[in-house]
């Protein structure tokens, strides 16, 4: 006789408190497959934990964003934000879709060049551009977004040395009505810093001022703030035309669009409250079209959206190591996915689902990672079905920032695979080995021996 599927015995207290105003259904579906590929097979083949990216989701999300903007504004260009996920295969999916590259360091710049992105399609942001980085970007005709006056003066010096007229934009920070106001990048709009920088650029006549850029914040839950920002950049652009008879070629609205993840401390899930691409597109396009640009001289609209384009395409697969109880009887579940891999668990309530079928019984648990560190908590409180040791879980929406901000700490970093449009899997980053870490270390001769 075939044995029945085992489920551990459970006793759950029924607590009839007041229903929450924002009470959410607790129904959960197992995630047995990703793009038609069984989670169990993925783990059997590539190990656990494992990052999985869906090419299908990346492309469809990109096309959704592209459509939202291009149906409202005639000239739109996306630039892939390398810091969000700079795995080469991922960058190339975006480049195949037509994205330029948006980089914030010499390392990222070189990566874009390695991928074959043309110099003039690389936007160079960030506060730390070395003289060497700037010289390279100037010679490659890249778009340099100036962050501070020291950088501006370095560029002016380099124009004489290299005898090139670089293409530049300034980064503008501003009050868009949201808190906290991001005023650390670029020059302020309200206090006149932005105009000081623009005057300097125009009067030296050593640079080609091609654009205006802003990066108003991250995980912006207000689309209207982008409308305010676009209006202020348009005002600068029109001022430049009036004052210097100079037309800029583009307005770059930066990134910061929210993904569908749920932020900690927010009552409603990201799916319900994050603005859609259409919301952002409507706010930005309306502001630009309502500004006093001549209709045949509208600037190109550049978007550096990262998080909202890749978050949903990434999943992190893991395995249950143990079920434990705390001193007061509270259930905890230890999995092999730690905060060293899932950096975003510090600010998101990540959705976690089991990868195998389960019954209707569930329990409140705390999900801990495998690190011997008290901070290694994936979910403080989550209602999960009764998981057993060896069961698999899927952490959803992990495509942004985790594969760039992860750290090698206590354990080694795992493989990353992509599932292509035909459902085939490809390793796009190998797992680390002991050798990959120790090969960077050097042992002084006198420390080699001990008793």
């Amino acid at each position: 006789m075939e044995k029945l599927r085992y489920e551990r015995p459970t006793l759950k207290k029924l607590e009839a408190g007041m229903p929450g105003k924002f009470g959410m259904p607790t129904s959960l579906q197992p995630t047995t497959h990703i793009d038609g590929v069984a989670v169990k097979e993925l783990i059997d083949e590539y190990g656990s934990p494992l990052f999985v990216l869906s090419e299908q989701t990346i492309r469809s999300t990109f096309r959704k964003a592209q459509r939202a903007f291009s149906t409202r504004y005639p000239k739109v260009q996306f630039a892939w934000s390398y810091k969000t996920n700079y795995l080469s295969a991922i960058c190339n999916v975006f480049h195949q879709e037509g994205s330029w590259a948006e980089v914030v360091s010499g390392f990222e710049y070189d990566k874009a060049i390695q991928h074959g992105v043309a110099g003039e399609k690389i936007i160079f942001n960030g506060p730390d551009k070395t003289e060497k980085d700037l010289a390279k970007a100037m010679q490659n005709n890249s778009l340099i977004h100036i962050d501070h006056l020291d950088e501006l003066y370095t560029i002016i010096e380099l124009t004489d040395k290299l005898n090139v007229k670089p293409k530049v934009a300034i980064r503008v920070n501003m009050d868009t009505g949201i808190q906290p106001m991001w005023d650390r990048f670029g020059f302020n709009f309200e206090n006149g810093q932005a105009w000081d920088a623009l005057n300097k650029i125009m009067h030296t006549n050593k640079m080609d001022l091609v654009g205006l850029h802003t990066h108003i914040g991250t995980f912006m839950l207000s689309a209207n703030a982008y409308g305010v920002a676009a209006g202020k950049l348009a005002e600068l652009a029109i001022g430049l035309k009036q004052k210097f008879n100079h037309e800029i070629k583009y307005i770059d609205m930066g990134g910061g669009f929210a993904s569908k993840n749920t932020l900690k401390g927010v009552l409603l899930p990201g799916y319900d409250i994050s603005p859609t691409f259409d919301d952002y597109a409507e706010a930005i396009s309306t502001a630009l079209l309502n500004a006093n640009f001549q209709q045949d001289h509208l600037p190109l609209l550049i978007l550096e959206t990262g998080r909202a384009l890749i978050d949903e395409a990434g999943s992190l697969l893991g395995t249950v190591i143990s079920n434990k109880r705390l001193s007061q009887g509270k259930r905890t579940t230890i999995v092999d996915v730690g905060v060293n891999l899932l950096f975003t668990s510090f600010w998101y309530e990540h959705k976690v689902t089991p990868a195998q079928p389960f019954s209707q019984y569930s329990e409140e648990t705390t999900v801990y990672g495998p690190l011997c560190m008290n901070i290694d908590v994936l979910r403080e409180n989550i209602n999960l079905p009764l998981l057993n040791k060896g069961d698999h879980i899927v952490v959803h929406h992990v495509g942004a920032y985790n594969m760039t901000q992860w750290m090698q700490f206590i354990t080694l970093r795992p493989k990353v695979v992509i599932i292509d449009m035909e459902g085939k899997t490809h390793v796009i980053r190998e797992n680390e080995t002991q050798e990959s870490i120790t090969s960077f270390e050097r042992m002084p001769e006198y420390l080699r021996k001990f008793d």
């Binding site: 085992y6 489920e7 551990r8 015995p9 459970t10 006793l11 759950k12 029924l14 079920n323 019984y361």
Partner: protein, 85 residues
């Protein structure tokens, strides 16, 4: 050790403790274990019984059984004359 006599458990797993007024939900295997304890079965008998029926191993069952017992104890659903049972 036995389940308190006044505890009511329905076939669908609804458990009521009239002394405290608290209600619980027990899953099917939990109902089976409570029934077997009520019949006075030892852990050895219960383990043998469940291993024949369910697809699991002895170590997992032992760990889960004593965890379940602890939860019954924490929620004051058992008489614990022999505390170290």
């Amino acid at each position: 050790m036995n389940i308190k006599k006044n505890i009511a458990l329905s076939d669908s797993g609804y458990l009521f403790n009239p002394s405290s007024g608290e209600s619980f939900v027990v899953n099917p295997i939990g109902i089976e274990i409570i029934d077997l304890i009520k019949q006075g079965k030892s852990f050895g008998d219960i383990s043998k019984n469940l291993l024949q029926k369910y697809n699991t191993d002895e170590a997992t069952l032992e760990k889960d059984y004593f965890d379940f017992l602890n939860m019954l104890r924490i929620n004051q659903l058992i008489n614990d004359e022999e505390k170290n049972n």
